[in-house]
C-alpha cells in the first residue's frame, strides 16, 4: 500500500476519532440535560455546600488546606524545600536536554564526539554533580524531614508518635468501622469503660490549644484516620492499637477523611473534627457526660463494650 493511501487512511481515522470525541462530549451534555432520576439514591453531590458557587482561583484551590497544627507547618516547609530542590534540578536537566536536541541535531558528515566518558576530567565533573545533587537533595530532605518528625539524634526523636499524657490532655478512643467513625471520651470520671463515657459517631469535638491523644483500633478492616488540616494520618488496624496526637491552634470545622481502602463506601466515611473554645468544650463534655450516665442502658451493656482498653503508654 502506497504512502498516499496510507495518508488517506490516516485522515479518515482522524475524522472518525474527532467525530468520536465530539459524539462522546455531546452525549455527555444530553445525558446531563435528560438526567432526572438516573441513579436515584446514589446520586453524588458535586458541591457540598448546595448550589452556592464561590469561584476560586487555581492557586486558591490548590493550596494545601490550612494547617491547624504546628507540626503541619514543619511538613509544609519540608514539602516546599523538596519541591524547590527537585524543581531546580529538573529545570536544569530540561534546559540541557533541549539544548542538546536543538544544537546537536544530526547532520550528515558531522561526527559525534567520541568518548566513553572515562577520562579523569569527566569523572571530576560527574563527581562534583553527584555530590551537589546529594547535598542539595538528599541531605537537605533528610534534615528537613527529621526536623519535622524529630531527629534520630535528638532528644525529641519521633515526637509525633510520642503520645502526651497528663491531666490536661484530651484522650479519645477511635474505632472506625465500615463505614463510619466511632469516638469515645472517658467522661467526667476520667475513666474509660464507665457509665458516663461519651460516644459520638463521625464527630470529634476537641478544645483549642490542648493536646489531643488518640488511640485507634478498627472494628473490621484497616481504615486510615487522616485529618488533612493536621497533616497526619495513621492506619487503624484490627490487630493492634495505633496512636496519634495533635494540638489544634484554630477553631473551626475540619474534615476527617478515610485514607485506606476499606470497601465500597470508603469514599463516604467522612467525619468532622470540631475545634471549639475550651470553655465550650468543658460545658459540652459535662453535659454529655451526665446525659450518658442518665441514659445508660443497663440491660444492653454489651453494646458499650469495644473490647479494648486505653493503653497507659
Amino acid at each position: 500500500m502506497s504512502t498516499v493511501k496510507l495518508h488517506l487512511l490516516f485522515r479518515i481515522f482522524l475524522c472518525l476519532a474527532g467525530g468520536g470525541f465530539f459524539t462522546i462530549s455531546s452525549q455527555a451534555q444530553t445525558q446531563k440535560q435528560m438526567h432526572q432520576q438516573n441513579y436515584g439514591k446514589e446520586k453524588p453531590q458535586v458541591h457540598a455546600q448546595g448550589n452556592k458557587k464561590v469561584s476560586r482561583s487555581f492557586w486558591d484551590i490548590y493550596k494545601t488546606p490550612k494547617t491547624i497544627f504546628k507540626y503541619g507547618e514543619e511538613i509544609d516547609t519540608a514539602f516546599f524545600t523538596i519541591t524547590a530542590g527537585g524543581l531546580f534540578w529538573y529545570i536544569l536537566l530540561s534546559i540541557l536536554l533541549l539544548y542538546f536536541i536543538i544544537f546537536n541535531r544530526y547532520k550528515k558528515g558531522r561526527r559525534a564526539f567520541y568518548t566513553h566518558g572515562t577520562d579523569k576530567k569527566y569523572s571530576k565533573v560527574k563527581t562534583f554533580l553527584d555530590v551537589a545533587v546529594f547535598i542539595s537533595l538528599d541531605l537537605v530532605i533528610w534534615v528537613f524531614s527529621f526536623k519535622a518528625t524529630g531527629s534520630p539524634f535528638g532528644s525529641d526523636f519521633g515526637f509525633i508518635w510520642k503520645n502526651p499524657s497528663g491531666p490536661d490532655v484530651v484522650r479519645v478512643q477511635v474505632m472506625p468501622q465500615q463505614w463510619a467513625w466511632n469516638f469515645r471520651y472517658p467522661g467526667e470520671d476520667k475513666t474509660f469503660g464507665t457509665k458516663d463515657d461519651i460516644y459520638t459517631v463521625n464527630e470529634l469535638i476537641v478544645p483549642k490549644d490542648k493536646k489531643v491523644n488518640l488511640q485507634l483500633k478498627s472494628r473490621d478492616v484497616i481504615h486510615g484516620f487522616w485529618i488533612p488540616n493536621v497533616r497526619m494520618q495513621i492506619d487503624a488496624l484490627p490487630s493492634q492499637i495505633s496512636r496519634m496526637w495533635f494540638e489544634a491552634n484554630q477553631t473551626g470545622d475540619f474534615e476527617i477523611v478515610c485514607a485506606h481502602l476499606c470497601g465500597t463506601h470508603h469514599y463516604k466515611m467522612k467525619a468532622f473534627l470540631k475545634v471549639v473554645e475550651e470553655n465550650e468544650y468543658t460545658s459540652w463534655k459535662a453535659e454529655m457526660s451526665s446525659w450518658a450516665q442518665a441514659s445508660y442502658d443497663q440491660e444492653n451493656q454489651k453494646k458499650y463494650t469495644w473490647g479494648w482498653t486505653w493503653q497507659k503508654k
Binding site: I101, Y114, T115, G117, P152, L261
Partner: protein, 593 residues
C-alpha cells in the same frame, strides 16, 4: 532432544542448528523458538493493555462526570444503573486496572517479549539455555490470563480490594465470592511464569555469551533485563507465599492474616504480616519494571546520538547498586502502619540513598547526548520523552521517601501521579520505543515514522498533563480510590482538573489505538526493512531481520563493545559491528574466550 548432546563444560559450543519446525502448531503455537515466544508475549500483552487502558478511561470518566452514564458501552455493561458506573464496580475497576497493567501488560511486553527476543540475539546465542522452560513461561501467563478473565464472570464479580489486596478487606468476611480467590490464583500463576522465565534469563546471560563478550561488553539493555530477572527470581516467591497464605485463609478458614472480631477463636493472626510479605516483593517489583527501561534508554540514547554510552561501567554498576538497594527499602510503603519511629527513619534514609545511583546514570544519559550527532526519529523521541517523565517521577519519589511528608501524602493522588510517571510513563514510553526499534527484528518491516511521530506527541503530552495534574491534586490531599470526592469541602473544586484529566486520557486512548493500528498495519504493509535499518552495531543487528530460526549461521566472535559510534579511526561509517574486526581499533580475542 537433550539426550543427543553430550554434556560439555562450554554450552556455547553446544549450540547445534536444529531442523526448523514445519507444522503450524510447532511453528506458532507450542514453539520453543524464543522469537516466536516473544511474539506470543507481545500479542498477549497487547490484548490486556487494551482492557487495562479502557478501565482507566472508565475510572477517569467516573471522576470527571460523576453520576453520568459511561458513553457508548455504558448501557451495555451496566444496564441496572442506566449506564452509570456504581461504587462497587468502581473499586473493581481500579483494582483490575492496576493488576492488569502491571502483571499482564507491562511485564509480558517489556520483560516477556523483549527479554525473550533480545537476550539470545544480543549475546550471540541460538536460543535460551532452557527452551522448554521458556515455552512453559508463556503458557503459564496465558493460563493465568484465562483465570483472571474468568474471574470477571463469577456471581459477585472480579476482585475489588485494590491491586495490593490487603487483608482484612481481602479476607473472606469482607470480600466473599470467588473473584478475589481467582485473582490470587491467577497472580500465583503469573508469578510462577516470571520465576521460570527469570531462571532462563539469568542462566542464559551467564552461560551463553558469545566468545569475546564479557559482562562489560553487553548492551545495557541486557544488563537491565538480567538484573530484573535476578530481582524477579528472588522476590516473586515472597509474593507467592503471601498470596498463597491469603488464599488458604479464604478457602480453608485459617487465620494467618485475620485479627479482631472476625478472627476464629484462639487464633493470633496479623494483617500487617501480609503487608510485609507483599511489599518485600512490591518494592523490588517497581524496580523490576523500570530496570529494563533504564537499560534500553541507555542504549537508545547512545545509538541515536551516534556516540558511546557515557560512563558505561558506572551505569552498569549503578543499576546493580539500585538492584541491591531496592531490596532494603520496602518499609516506605508502610509508614502509616504504626511502625516504630526508628524503623521509619531507617527506611527513609535507605530510600533517599537510592537517588545517588539514579543521579549517576541520569547524568550519564546527559553525557551521552552531549556533543552527539542526535538523530530524531520515533525511537529517540520516545527515549527523550522518557527522560522528561522519569525526571519528574523520580524527583517526586523524594517527597514520598521522607517520612514526614509521606504522612501527609500517603494514599493521595500524589502517590498515584508519582508511580504513574515512573511506570505508566517512563516504562511505557520505553516499551513503545522498543517496539518501534525492534519491529524489524520481529516482523522484517519498519513501522510508519509519520504515524509514530503523531503517536509520540499525542501520548507524551497527555501523560505529562494527567500525572502532573494528579500530583497537584494529591498535594492538597485528594485521596486515591475515591468514587466521589466532591462531597468533601476540601476537594469539591478539583472537578475541573479531573475533567481535564479525563479529556487527556481520551486523547491518550486514541493514541493507543493509533499505535495498535501502526503495529498491525505495518506487520503486513510496512516498508520492508534491511538487515540493519538503524545502523546499530550490537549482535542482534549482525544477522538478518527477521533472523533465521537458528539466529546466527556461525556463532559470532566479539571484538568490540556495544557502543562504538563515531570512532575517529573508522571513516566509512559511523558505527562498528560488535563482531567486526578492525585493525588498530578492535581488541584481539582472548584464546580462553
Amino acid at each position: 532432544m537433550s539426550s543427543e548432546h553430550p554434556v560439555s563444560n562450554d554450552p556455547r559450543a553446544e549450540q547445534p542448528i536444529h531442523h526448523a519446525p514445519t507444522s503450524f502448531i510447532s511453528k506458532y503455537i507450542i514453539s520453543f523458538d524464543h522469537k516466536v515466544i516473544a511474539k506470543q508475549f507481545l500479542f498477549f500483552g497487547i490484548f490486556w493493555t487494551i482492557i487495562g487502558i479502557l478501565m482507566s478511561v472508565m475510572i477517569r470518566w467516573t471522576q470527571a462526570y460523576p453520576g453520568e452514564a459511561f458513553p457508548i458501552i455504558g448501557q451495555l455493561i451496566f444496564p441496572d444503573t442506566n449506564g452509570v458506573i456504581p461504587p462497587d464496580t468502581y473499586t473493581m475497576l481500579f483494582t483490575m486496572h492496576g493488576t492488569i497493567m502491571i502483571f499482564y501488560s507491562i511485564t509480558p511486553i517489556l520483560i516477556g517479549c523483549f527479554g525473550n527476543l533480545l537476550i539470545p540475539l544480543m549475546i550471540g546465542a541460538r536460543d535460551m539455555l532452557f527452551p522448554w522452560l521458556n515455552t512453559l513461561s508463556f503458557w503459564l501467563i496465558f493460563l493465568s490470563g484465562l483465570v483472571l478473565l474468568y474471574s470477571f464472570f463469577v456471581p459477585l464479580g472480579a476482585s475489588a480490594v485494590g491491586w495490593t489486596s490487603y487483608p482484612p478487606l481481602a479476607s473472606s468476611p469482607w470480600s466473599p465470592g470467588a473473584g478475589h480467590s481467582l485473582w490470587l490464583f491467577a497472580l500465583f500463576l503469573a508469578g510462577m511464569s516470571s520465576i521460570v522465565g527469570s531462571i532462563n534469563y539469568i542462566s542464559t546471560v551467564i552461560r551463553l555469551r558469545a566468545p569475546g563478550m564479557g559482562f562489560f561488553d553487553l548492551p545495557l539493555t541486557i544488563w537491565g533485563l538480567w538484573l530484573t530477572a535476578i530481582l524477579n527470581a528472588l522476590f516473586l516467591p515472597v509474593l507467592a507465599s503471601g498470596l498463597l497464605l491469603l488464599l488458604i485463609d479464604r478457602m480453608f478458614g485459617t487465620a494467618f492474616f485475620m485479627a479482631g472480631a472476625m478472627a476464629p477463636q484462639g487464633t493470633v493472626g496479623d494483617p500487617i504480616l501480609y503487608q510485609h510479605l507483599f511489599w518485600i516483593f512490591g518494592h523490588p517489583e517497581v524496580y523490576i519494571i523500570i530496570l529494563p527501561a533504564w537499560g534500553m534508554v541507555s542504549d537508545f540514547l547512545s545509538f541515536f546520538a551516534r556516540k558511546p554510552a557515557f560512563g558505561y561501567k558506572a551505569t552498569a554498576w549503578s543499576l546493580t547498586a539500585i538492584t541491591i538497594l531496592s531490596t532494603l527499602v520496602y518499609g516506605h510503603h508502610m509508614f502509616t502502619t504504626n511502625m516504630a519511629p526508628l524503623l521509619t527513619s531507617a527506611f527513609t534514609t535507605l530510600t533517599l540513598l537510592i537517588s545517588i545511583p539514579s543521579a549517576i546514570f541520569f547524568i550519564n544519559w546527559l553525557g551521552t547526548l552531549w556533543r552527539g550527532n542526535i538523530q530524531i526519529n520515533t525511537v529517540s523521541l520516545f527515549s527523550i520523552g522518557m527522560l522528561f517523565t522519569f525526571g519528574i517521577g523520580g524527583l517526586t519519589g523524594l517527597h514520598l521517601a521522607a517520612v514526614s511528608t509521606n504522612l501527609a501524602l500517603h494514599n493521595t493522588y500524589f502517590v498515584v501521579g508519582h508511580f504513574h510517571l515512573t511506570m505508566a510513563s517512563a516504562a511505557l514510553l520505553t516499551t513503545i520505543a522498543a517496539t518501534y526499534f525492534w519491529f524489524p527484528k520481529l516482523f522484517g518491516r519498519l513501522m510508519s515514522e509519520r504515524i509514530g511521530k503523531i503517536h509520540f506527541w499525542t501520548t507524551f503530552i497527555p501523560l505529562m498533563v494527567i500525572f502532573t495534574g494528579m500530583m497537584i491534586m494529591g498535594y492538597i490531599g485528594l485521596p486515591r480510590r475515591y468514587y466521589n470526592p466532591y462531597e468533601y469541602e476540601i476537594f469539591k473544586d478539583t472537578l475541573p482538573m479531573n475533567k481535564l484529566l479525563a479529556f487527556s486520557v481520551l486523547v491518550a486512548f486514541g493514541s493507543l489505538l493509533l499505535f495498535l493500528f501502526n503495529i498491525f498495519w505495518s506487520m503486513f504493509f510496512g516498508k520492508k526493512a534491511s538487515d540493519n535499518p538503524w545502523n546499530v552495531g550490537t549482535l542482534d543487528w549482525c544477522t538478518s531481520s527477521p533472523p533465521a530460526v537458528h539466529n546466527f549461521d556461525e556463532i559470532p566472535k566479539v571484538y568490540n563493545g556495544p557502543h562504538e559510534y563515531s570512532h575517529p579511526k573508522v571513516k566509512d561509517k559511523d558505527f562498528i559491528y560488535q563482531n567486526e574486526y578492525i585493525e588498530g581499533v578492535s581488541r584481539k580475542l582472548d584464546e580462553n574466550a
